[in-house]
Symmetry: C2
């Protein structure tokens, strides 16, 4: 089974190359594909404070993709875990997901803050962040990931 998707738009970001950390202040623009969409597609979206962005990390080389386990950030001091037990970019299907703040819209453009996708990244979907979709029950995670995330935002 092969799935064919088309980007719904692209990121216009000041960050041109992959960098692991300090995304919080980055302001970027998601430009919808105007051959398919007009401003109606995002009508009313400013009534939400945050978005969930699903994007395609097309700059990851296919030969770098990990299908088994590895040390996160290739740091041998961190525990070796499965690629689906970490959020590294070298993953099957190369899909990125993150939440960001919506600043404003202008026509088919969304201005967002804190989106960790580099310039020209293809966007697969935009969803409003809905509080009822937050995790239910007690949340826990291993200490190594908090260590990695220390300077991420």
């Amino acid at each position: 089974m092969s799935i064919h998707l088309n980007p719904i738009g692209f990121v216009d970001s000041p960050r041109k190359e992959k960098k692991d950390d300090y995304w919080a202040e980055v302001i970027s623009v998601i430009q919808l594909d105007e051959s398919v969409f007009n401003a109606e597609a995002i009508q009313g979206i400013e009534t939400f404070s945050h978005l969930e962005i699903i994007f395609y990390m097309d700059q990851v080389l296919p030969e770098k993709i990990v299908y088994g386990a590895r040390h996160p950030r290739n740091d041998s001091q961190l525990p070796k875990v499965g690629i689906f037990a970490q959020r590294g970019k070298s993953r099957p299907n190369r899909i990125g997901l993150s939440r960001c703040n919506l600043l404003k819209t202008e026509g088919t453009r969304l201005y967002v803050q804190g989106l960790d996708a580099i310039d020209q990244t293809p966007i697969l979907d935009i969803k409003p962040y809905v509080q009822e979709f937050a995790p239910r029950g007690t949340v826990f995670q291993p200490t190594w990931i908090s260590e990695i995330m220390r300077n991420y935002y």
Copy 2:
């Protein structure tokens, strides 16, 4: 630009047909594609309480996809908003995203609770839920979506 993805696995769920509500108690299994993955791909994932699952809603008919605005759940009493300002399934690229509780793993199988994907849904990615990726700053959303979500979980 066309993007080709392969499912990393499929959902085995007791829920065979689309239903809008009452997902909280649903226990389902994500079976990784064993022609590509072994248990290493999810090694250590039980150290996280929750997962973020990205899936492909292949049962949505292409002719039902909305590219502009519509009333959520086609309920004319709700405000008409853009397809990217709501989380309805009839969206471009038909990508679903939700968080669920990880109960346990067995080999290449993940047992999860509260995953709102019907039986045989193709899975595109599995990410551990990481608290630092939660929205930063004040979160707000319109009242109509809280209304919709009242019985979702």
